[in-house]
Amino acid sequence: DAGVTQSPTHLIKTRGQQVTLRCSPKSGHDTVSWYQQALGQGPQFIFQYYEEEERQRGNFPDRFSGHQFPNYSSELNVNALLLGDSALYLCASFPGQGTHEQYFGPGTRLTVT
């Protein structure tokens, strides 16, 4: 059983560009959360998707947007990249009903130059 997978593993972008990160949840999970983890800090909650809708959102600007597909996979889009967007982006999944133990993917390391 594959766990949570994310792509790409690493990404280098230039300021002002746009980026799309992808996440496939663990089998049987229908809810996906995205986090940003800057160096030396804990993960910061970006948003959560359930039934193809954004259910919760953290304190991130509108440049950060997402999508969930019918197969529960998800994308995170970031527009007009800033140097401060450089971070590890983590995706976590869990079943919408029942326990909220979240399973994390390996993350995408985004570097903005």
Binding site: V4, S33, Y35, G40, Q41, G42, P43, Q44, F45, Q48, Y50, R55, Q56, R57, G58, L88, L90, T99, H100, E101, Q102, Y103, F104, G105, P106, G107
Partner: protein, 113 residues
């Protein structure tokens, strides 16, 4: 503003020592407190605590929650070099049909051989 504070931020011990990691929180609403271990990228789940005073135990690791004083501790006995990692504490905050997860900055533990 919801926040989770961990202490110490970093810790260096020798193999065989016992360590106690602290987590305090201030949130508008509380569902559960979780502990994760992060070695390379993906945090891995350790414990979920919802009730005060009930110790959760897994091998050499144990954790307990005090909902009156708003804190939790994670104990690791007979530490090994493989315990070297970042330990993250997180609180689930219910919101409008869903929830968000607030992480602390983590405690960086280094166990010397």
């Amino acid at each position: 503003e919801d926040k989770v504070v961990q202490s110490p931020l970093s810790l260096v011990v020798h193999e065989g020592d016992t360590v106690t990691l602290n987590c305090s929180y201030e949130v508008t609403n509380f569902r559960s407190l979780l502990w994760y271990k992060q070695e390379k990228k993906a945090p891995t789940f350790l414990f979920m605590l919802t009730s005060s005073g009930i110790e959760k135990k897994s091998g050499r690791l144990s954790s307990i929650l005090d909902k009156k004083e708003l804190f939790s501790i994670l104990n690791i006995t007979a530490t090994q070099t493989g315990d070297s990692a970042i330990y993250l504490c997180a609180v689930e905050v219910p919101e409008a049909g869903g929830f968000k997860t607030i992480f602390g900055a983590g405690t960086r533990l280094f166990v010397k051989a």
